[in-house]
Amino acid sequence: MNNYTLTHLRQLEAESIHIIREVASEFVNPVMLYSIGKDSSVMARLAEKAFAPGKVPFPLMHIDSKWKFREMIKFRDNYAKEKGWNLIVHYNKEGYESGVGPFSHGSKVHTDVMKTQALLGGLNKYKFDAAFGGARRDEEKSRAKERIFSFRDEFHQWDPKNQRPELWNIYNTKIQKGESIRVFPLSNWTELDIWQYIRLENFPIVPLYFAKERPVVEFNNALILLDDDRMPEDLAKKAKMKKVRFRTLGCYPLTGAVESDADTVEKIVEEMMTTTKSERTTRVIDFDQDASMEQKKREGYF
């Protein structure tokens, strides 16, 4: 017997740092995708730790759908500035100029043009050969079999039948020109682990996760925040103040709030442990057929 043991959080942390360093060593032009959500915040924090006291040797890229919560954008800009990140903000200019949005075009078109296409556009523009994503395997069934280093062809497509075996902690990073790898350093983390880690390390996340009185509108069986004046007027005028928080963050018209009193990490975990809904149910895009995430991933979405 000895006392050389690590808690599960420290083991997960060590594994993620190992993965992040491996990418920095093996790829020419990696990028970390940053959604501003809690998982992204954990991932970015791990990257900072991996290279301390130096700077992280790759940029942080946010794919801006132009419909994110305003608080997210504010948080993003402050965070990147404070930590000295090289922040790239990319959006689908064409889509934006032709006015694509969830209220006018529906969630499907909006997600495809302003998220999936925007992401592919950003990756192509900067010719990144590896892109970190904050996805976790426990989020959704089709993710359970995804590799930590997930190979994408030159069209950024994922082929679930043709994945590289991944053994020990040895990652096959060989690619041809134009191909790339998506890397998921949080693969083995669960939602509870993420919250535990935020609590343990005590670093800031977007305040929208914490309950507060906010103006919300009931829409598509979800509580939508009245975040700006782009919400159609007939909806906007139904807004009521409620104490709500968000379990996931995305485009404000597509992300439902939950009524809650949880205004600390402890209360959030408590709520989570006793709640009966898993986190993605507050995402409107997931209400399609059950293989929809797999379909989106094949097309290049994370």
């Binding site: 083991q11 060989k174 690619i175 408590e270 898993s278």
Partner: protein, 636 residues
Amino acid sequence: MQKDIKTFLDQDEKKDLLRILTAGSVDDGKSTLIGRLLFDSKRLYEDQLSALERDSKRVGHAGDDIDYALLLDGLKAEREQGITIDVAYRYFSTNQRKFIIADTPGHEQYTRNMVTGASTANLAVLLVDARHGVITQTKRHTFIVNLLGIKHVVVAINKMDLVDYSKERFDEITSAYKEFITGLNIPDVNFIPISALKGDNVVNVSDNMPWYHGKSMLEFLETVHVASDRNFEDFRYPVQFVNKPGLDFRGFCSTVASGTVKPGDEIIALPSRKSSKIKQIIGADGEQKIAFPPQSITITLDDEIDVSRGDMLVHHDNKPRNERQFEAMLVWMDENKMNMQTQFYIKHAYNTTKARIDKIQHKINVNSLEKEQSAPFVLNEIGRVVLTTVKPLLFDPYKKNKETGSFVLIDPITHNTSAVGMIIDKLGNKDMPSRITDVDMKKIDRGEALISHKEREQRLNQRPATLWITGLHGSGKNALAYTMERKLFDLGASAVLMDGSTVRSGLSRELDHSPADRAEHLRRVAHVAKILNDQGLIVICSFISPYANIRQQVSEIVGKDRFHIIHMDAALESCRKSKPDLYNLADKGKLKYMPGLDERYEKPENPTLRLKPENKESNMDKILDYLNANKIFPLE
């Protein structure tokens, strides 16, 4: 409540982690078992459950009951076929532990998936159907668990409800399994009778089997002690990333592979063998006084020694091997079959170099566990091979150290992960086989020769021959070879001379003197000699060629009737006298692989001629007599 949740979180934070491998086929009830562990540990949320009920009605295989397996089978295609075809990772936790399950299919055609899941697992749960007992599949799975070095096995004897919860049946299976694993290297084996479907002994101990006094599956998983399974003895720190943010900081980042390290420790960097002291250890949570696996840390040193990715920091008195040739158990992962000519990329402890598979020792039939002789491997095949790499690797045997004993082979063209390997306790060089003749050597049909051998022999008045002189450094091989060349020239013979330094300066310039490279060097020489012989020429070869088996293979390439071996039989002392500088260097350890010193030299048993260097005068006469008597030269 607020206080409770704080207490809960404070405790929860301190949980450890157990990685479990499960293997079994569709009918074993493996998915049902996992589904139940997830379900009963209350990890399932209501909406996942309602989706499950909806799915059970549509594609479920369990009639009207909830089909737990549907929780697990992720991808659409797999669900429709009703089988799991890849490794799926599942997560659940209890108050005691967080669990990661690598859930893999059980059929033989998915051996590679099981190997993948096994590579990171602390513990394996093997399912046995109580009605069928220990079957071929159980043995195959046990073999893989043993191969990948998993130290804890739980044999879950499932479907006990279908054998009337019979103790006799349980005992029967238990002893059959115990007998099977004698001789394997699994230190901790446990048996639990369960019914995954009914929930017996899965989470709670069942009333249906009062004769069973052990723990339930979940209790067992929560309490099994795995923390000391890692290697804390041999400090190995293969450098993953060099962090140089400015002029005044140089940190070596990596994950501690094994052993422990403290500030102040004397270390050496391999392969440069430069020494220094550990100045600082920076962990994820700041500076630390000790580091152990699997922590990811940054180390700074007292001295500015040159260390790059792939170099290894170790303690002085405990070093890994540093070799280019080794044996390994290899699992073939690629749809394309093994090609012995391919130069693979090999990735090992953050080094990527090239490797070739020199020899297949044997293949293992994963069902009978018999050794088989051995065509190249195809998908899912496992066996023992000899590999040679371009750069030496710093390794330990996998059994002692998973982190420095494992590697992957990557196809240079498709970039598939072609194979994965576990390095075996290395044989001494002298036992290491080398293959230079090509098993698949094709007879090249050049078409009808327009000049016959007979015509060449008559024109040159000689019969082609390779006169192969072997002997130690300084034995006088080259002097003899030059004398022979001059003498034969003067007598009108057509002879060509090849010696070690000439060939090594060009044709074999990238090869060193290790056994593997020596073999390759001599293979090239043998083929050149054969070509020259085919033109009717006599070839004089002067090569140390220390191993009998390689000389034997050279003779096969050249042709046995043309190959004549001449041994310069010099005592080591006289060799030292004639090349003192060379031997001095070797004595100081500055030259490796010196035959007669750190490398063996095997005297030929029945040479054509055995000559002593001191008989300079008579040696040439003996050779001429031999050529004459055997009608090599002159022919008439």
